[in-house]
């Protein structure tokens, strides 16, 4: 019998949200004056000072509705990347764009998506919410991409193939030659969604990203974000670059005011602040090399990373190392939710944070080796 407590079957087995400890709670519990968060791949330099000044100047506009479609930022991105503006959709983080892509094109109960396992969770979660089948292809043991196996999983009902490049949590990035090859072999039904959230941190972006070939790629969607190198994770700002027949439909169904009025302006200022971009990149590359060397010295298996984080397997139980780091005021990311119980992920911090982390890791390993 009908009952207003009815929940859609797709939703019933979503996990309840379980919040981690906040920084103040960690401080209290472990009696710490300072806590360093290297868990969410945020920018080690924080927010650009130029962006901060802009937010301060525009705070009085908080009462105004945003412009639907973020026309100013769309134009600026178009100029910045020299790609026509009708190929861009700006979203409330890439998360909104992932959801919109699925809702516009993937037919519930018929279509499927293909993803690697492990991968960024939002691809799977939104597909599940949309009632779309998820086909998972295990990564190789070294966390490289098994392209042929992924292609074998696809059929004429595959709507999307989601690939993060660089990948999260491993930091691995495939060369663009492989990506172009895969794009040319997709079933007609399928679009490759290439999530390039971390591409700015790659040693040679042009070796990894096929964005330069956008005009020839009619079955690829690029996702990019202001959350990482632009230092705007909290403002929620991402964008997609895709064929214009697809932007058209995304913009038709998008909630008109999903992007915060200050976020669009912050994005414009961040795009112009080349100095902050360069400093962020240098800080991450320097820190990544430092952490890589030091963690190997401490006996960790460290995976080569093209992103602003490093996945590693400590020479002791990962959960114990995580807790020992926490008690010393350093938050890293346990990877149990990715099915990688033996691994941890650390975001590259600024130089001082990286030194504090290595010191804490050394102590943690001495305690648990």
């Amino acid at each position: 019998m009908a009952d207003n407590r009815t929940i859609r079957s797709e939703v019933l087995d979503f996990e309840p949200y379980s919040p981690g400890l906040s920084i103040p709670e960690i401080k209290r519990r472990h009696n710490l004056a300072r806590v360093i968060k290297l868990a969410s791949n945020e920018n080690p330099l924080g927010t650009s000072p130029i962006v901060q000044r802009l937010i301060e100047r525009l705070a009085g506009y908080a009462f105004r509705y945003p412009s639907p479609g973020c026309p100013e930022l769309t134009e600026a991105l178009s100029e910045h990347l020299r790609i026509p503006s009708e190929r861009f959709v700006v979203g409330n983080g890439s998360d909104e764009l992932i959801d919109l892509l699925l809702r516009v094109k993937a037919e519930p109960g018929r279509d499927n998506i293909v993803v690697f396992r492990p991968c960024f969770s939002i691809y799977r979660l939104q597909a599940k919410l949309c009632g779309v089948e998820i086909r998972e292809v295990p990564l190789r043991e070294d966390f490289t991409f098994p392209w042929d196996e992924a292609l074998r999983q696809m059929d004429e009902n595959t709507a999307f193939f989601f690939v993060a490049n660089p990948d999260n949590p491993s930091g691995f990035a495939a060369p663009k030659a492989q990506i172009l090859d895969v794009a040319s072999r997709l079933p007609d039904s399928a679009l490759l969604v290439l999530d390039e959230a971390y591409i700015d941190f790659a040693h040679d972006q042009n070796f990894h990203s096929p964005l330069g070939k956008w005009s020839e790629l009619d079955n690829v969607v690029f996702l990019r974000t202001f959350s990482k190198i632009y230092g705007l994770a909290g403002m929620r700002l991402g964008y997609g670059i895709m064929p214009s027949w697809l932007t058209d439909y995304l913009l038709r169904v998008k909630l008109p005011f999903s992007v915060n009025v200050l976020a669009e302006q912050a994005g414009l200022a961040a795009l112009r602040d080349r100095h902050f971009f360069d400093r962020s990149l240098q800080t991450v590359i320097r820190g990544r090399e430092f952490l890589n060397g030091e963690m190997e010295r401490l006996g960790c298996r460290v995976f080569p990373s093209q992103a602003n984080f490093l996945m590693f397997r400590p020479p002791a139980e990962a959960e114990q190392v995580f807790e020992a780091l926490l008690s010393r005021g350093v938050i890293v990311r346990p990877l149990g939710s990715y099915g990688l119980q033996e691994y941890l992920r650390v975001s590259v911090g600024h130089d001082e944070e990286n030194r504090i982390f290595i010191q804490a890791l050394q102590e943690a390993l001495a305690e648990h080796a």
Copy 2:
């Protein structure tokens, strides 16, 4: 044959987005130094100075991801309204909550929603995107609610009955006695979603809102927003109050970072700024009475409003009046998209804006009467 251009059938007949003129474009076209926007029901006093200071102070946090679920704001709302925190879900505007409610509970291809016609467009658009049937019940000619007809449209597959109270665009508000009666007569399957975006502007909130009876209402969802009396339309912040079995599932499927990090803090500051709230309310009540009297004097049919806007039927063609106002630097809202071609809606501005609007209206009517 399959083709990657396939779009879901539900999506194909969404209207393309057509942007209106921006304020700078209007200034240019009509050679105006000042343009007054009375089209989006924003707060006539702008953003609270206390909230502005807070945004300025916290601009440096833009690089941090928000806390999933907005725990601080949830607690503050719970204390403010004396309702347990497990009944609250904070969203990226009420728009996100409307979408989440549908996605959690309404079964595509089976369930239906009931709405009045005209009504706030997002109820219909998100239901359509979800593949859920929409049953529209025309408002009475005086824009009051035909409750019995709405109840007759419901069956055991009705998932939601969406009602805005006060209503948009008419400003009409039903008494809570009627709402309680309707809630008691819904089919078991159905939840009443009572969108109280404008309730703070009602002359006697307690006469119109059944929120005080929340603990007895197990089939009612209340939606409220920071966009109107709290002056935060651009920050995108709304919340729902609903039975805890439902908050549980909404929080399970909600994108974890949908709410901007500054928005949550702005909401906390806005809740504490009682002075701004009171001034906003007084400004709107005073302006509403002034506009009502003046528009009637100019021969408009003005509908009684409990909100921060007034719907009116000018004694001339509405579109001509709209354009004549625009050429004088006043933007109001044409209601063609609501199917009300003969009506306009004007947001209550501050005292000076209201006087300028009346002057412009008088000139516009002299031109077109």
